[in-house]
Subunit: 357 residues, 4 copies
């Protein structure tokens, strides 16, 4: 197919850039419409937030006493509030070097006064051996900041996921070392819905001290739900207010989380995202391309030759993740709850066609 | 009418507590529906944010070079970001003692490291004479923090508004003293739409250095638009990101502000809120009640006897603002873009009926 | 004596500006000399710091388990570390409006992230009634920062002191309201040594949660000793390190505090300072001048006519504290451990001579 | 020599732990004595601070307009103030992974709100190629914090020093990338006095934007002199005050720096420290031990077998720096201005004797 046929003016590019390019799942918007006119209490005390909390607790098999739940507008808010609420001023957070808070939060963690200590990651994951070693290296008190909180993401920034066994061991290591464990769940939906996952929502309660459930990347217009264990929950809402994350109309998040967790919509959407990624990933493998990481969730990392990349870029958008020395590139393809099967088919078709050339 | 007839279970109370008890104006929700499916750039770079910026600039009669516009999810975000972005670490913000940032932001300003210096307010407003005196009292450098930014609200926390003359004089005083001027515009809609106001949107550009336009209190689900003059605009978006205020789906605010500012809806809604307050206020005056402040905008402060308050509380919700020594109270009644005329009529009717008793 | 005779080039002015114009008491310098050559552990773990801690504990009648003691180089360090160590991010400190941390610390408290809430003072002192009222006004949680720590100075910024009864009542109020109590003891020496004082060192342990003993204003080159009750003492040294207050050669403070507290030198010096102030104060009273505050400690606040001030300024240095409407001024005269009796006599003599004119 | 003969109770260990185990050089103490009685202005405005500033400027060949000089009590103060004064809230500091601010400042930098970005070091030094690469990797704005200030130490934490050529190239790279350059000069004395150094004091002015001269490690009881170029100097003293580093009796540092820089004492002491280290280092090399780093300054890093270490520990104190896999260790020996030649001879003698065994 000659490139002269391509007219990017006429053929708009379909985006696989990220999982937040579309608005909200229609069911959430509809719920916003239906609930719009009622007068509600402000600042997260409305009935929709309360119902959403009950649905989430139910999914977590957790009682009111075990966990508090708070809604915040962004992942950065969630991370900085979780971290700042747990730590005394001289305490530090430990994260793998590929962690989101290392170089994608504009220094938001440090802006709350806390140091981040880097731990070498293994396929994006924190492993007990590396954690222990780095904690040992940071014991020259009071000259070293005190390691206190371990930050992990699930799914990780590389799309990988933690197994139950891995979480059990990591959690045990943390408790032994006197460390708290925080899970960034911006993509917890696709993580727990991955075919290879054996982790349940209840496990998160048992194995971490605080975690958050990402709504923005799973069909909400905005909103992340912080789940905080009771020993860390006192006065938590002050942290939200102080960081501008306590919305006057908290209902906008309550209504959406109520829909996501009332009937399993959250996990249905996550499975869809994963399936779309699987289809893309399987096609690449079938055609002999090398995956740069196993496709556990909704992110496909694949090594492609430059000419193919240029062809694909005429019709699709995605990020070049890394340029390799031989001229090829690692490309990241992200699917979402909104990814259309038809577009996946088209994408796979073009990959196949241009591979044959 | 005997109180035994009242059954609050059956007669739900209509809320005059605040101007954020309802969801969004229907036109905004509809626009969210219509734009929902399109794929958009993230983090405020979508076409809706860009269009909203152009509509707002057009209202401000300001060019792209004059002002930058950024959308943030809450008033607290807006205030802390505006202040933190303007100041060096040892610089302080000056505010009247009734200012919102004094005791309604959970120390959010101080959490960014900055001192707030109190200036005695006059009917909720900052006046040049008091400002000058307090600045003079804070010149024992480097032992005093350096006064640098003046924070005002318009409308104020007492519902009063600044006249153009007042703003011109305050602005001149600030420039003479080397101070920047920030206007908290959580209620800028009702302020500029007040019958007694002679301030234009353009005046805000000319007379302040940075201000923000409140969407949450004027029909949006969430969102405030920060307008920053070019001399303070460099790298501004970093501050948003660092404080968790840069939403992945910035479109949710862009779409709403586009609707609010495309055809004057913003000011139509503001005028409605003001009219509802006027009707309530006029009724109180007609019946001989004392207003604790002139009703310039959508807040009515009125002195009521306790028995009347109890009666009204059976059917309406509002805040007791202050308890007076004679047993009466200052009550705050807030109307909004969503306040129903019918409810205002009912409220006025009940006030009249119970006054006659 | 005609003013033309005065030649300020030839007649150097003697300073009553403050209590830190001279170096150290000679006994402290000598101890620095004698201990200089020995090798010592660093960062406050040297034998001199340890001995100083034991002498101070002995004065406090406090066991090792009851209090921890840390030396820091400045009063600002002491205040910001005491406050930051006690508070969670959203908690605030309460202080009288004349408190040192309000406008003489360059925003150092706020730079650690904490709000200061102002309480009207009574002759520079915090009184339970005002404290309770302000705490009540700051309960609109989570919108109000949470009042948590009460800051007082003894002697106060106006030279007044707390009686035991006042401290007992304030302490009880704090405990009832769930508040911690911090005493800034920059001038604790002159406060406890005042003839009218009935407060003991032990009382400070019993009635506050944390306090500090000022060395800089009582004969040391530098150094303040923070005394922290065990419930707040965990990990305290991290705060020192993090704020640059943990000196490598902590011995420089240990040696000096050892001298000050080995044999009561600290209180001898304080009594001298008080006596010098008493002589100046008594002379003013004898001559009919009005004191603007009772002279409890080493600060004399007196109302003087401008001509007398000009005469005195030819030979002495002191601060004009406040300009009164009738043209006279409140003048502050500060004495110290180093104030020479001869200079006090000269000062009194000149006051008397120029009063007679 | 049988170990049973050793009685550590009777044979006190001589310390090579660090360069701050002793007090001050006697000439500095004497100057404190001589100047003690005079009344001086406070907060760094005394005549001794001013003279010290002139002597330092003279050594720097810098005019009053070119640099401001401020004295602070500790290295941590110096680092956190230098960094906080240069950066806007979202800006980050770059440092080699072995940098002092990475894990020896208890998170003091982050406590001022700023991120530290790690750059792989080469023998403790920052090299342009690595710096450029890391800066390139941190350009995903506004999600990455903005790289803005490069922190280096000279001598480095590994005892190595920068050549003039290295500094010229690093400085040029910084300016090209829009980065400021800060030099931590805790050990600038031994660095510039090293036989292999070709860097002058003037070079520091020309090639950095801000640096500090360590007094604590070069014979002062306390004190570091921050030298800040005029483009960063405005309002600098506020930062000192805000961080508790502005001592009321600034004279204590002024007097000492005046002595250190009046007649080259500073560099004489530095040369002594270097010579002592050279003698120890040369002895090790003569006896066939491997140095873990070249001995440029006053730190000797040498690989020793465990038995020898145990023997030496009976009479000397020093740090085990790293345990190697073969059971031997890297040991750090630090000399100072106060190190006694006799002790060096004894140490070398024991090393030789126990090596022969």
């Amino acid at each position: 197919m000659p490139s002269s046929c391509i007219d990017t003016e006429l053929v708009p590019q379909y985006s696989f850039l990220d999982d937040y390019s579309e608005g909200a799942h229609p069911q959430l918007l509809e719920a916003l419409l239906h609930t719009n006119a009622t007068q509600q209490m402000s600042y997260g005390n409305d009935e929709f937030c309360n119902e959403a909390r009950q649905y989430i607790r139910s999914q977590l098999c957790a009682s009111d006493d075990e966990v508090s739940i708070h809604f915040v507008p962004s992942g950065t808010s969630a991370n900085l509030i979780c971290i700042a609420s747990c730590l005394r001023p001289y305490e530090a957070v430990l994260t793998v070097d590929s962690g989101h808070i290392v170089c994608k939060e504009a220094g938001a963690i440090e802006a709350t006064g806390h140091k981040t200590i880097l731990v070498p990651g293994v396929r994006g994951k924190m492993v007990p051996a590396n954690l222990e070693r780095v904690v040992r290296q940071n014991q020259f008190f009071p000259h070293s900041a005190k390691p206190r909180l371990v930050y992990i993401s699930n799914a990780t920034e590389l799309g990988t996921i933690y197994s139950k066994q891995e979480l059990v061991e990591l959690s045990a290591t943390c408790r032994q070392l006197g460390l708290l464990l925080l899970m960034d769940g911006a993509r917890i939906g696709v993580a727990l819905s991955a075919p290879s996952s054996d982790v349940t929502m209840r496990d998160l309660v048992d194995l971490t001290d605080i975690f958050w459930i990402g709504g923005t990347k799973m069909g909400a217009l905005l909103g992340e739900a912080i789940v905080v264990r009771s020993h860390l929950a006192e006065d938590f809402v002050f942290h939200l207010k102080q960081h501008g994350a306590l919305l006057a109309k908290g209902r906008v998040m309550g209504v959406q989380f109520r829909e996501l967790f009332r009937d399993n919509l959250f996990f249905q959407l996550a499975r869809h995202a994963n399936e779309m990624a699987q289809r893309i990933s399987a096609n690449f493998e079938k055609l002999g391309y090398e995956l740069a990481a196993t496709t556990d969730t909704n992110q496909v990392f694949v090594v492609l030759p430059e000419p193919l990349i240029h062809r694909l870029e005429e019709r699709f958008r995605f990020y070049i993740w890394e340029r390799l020395e031989d001229g090829s590139c690692v490309v990241r393809i992200v699917t979402s709850w909104a990814t259309e099967g038809l577009q996946v088919d088209k994408f796979n078709g073009w990959v196949e066609q241009w591979t044959r050339v």
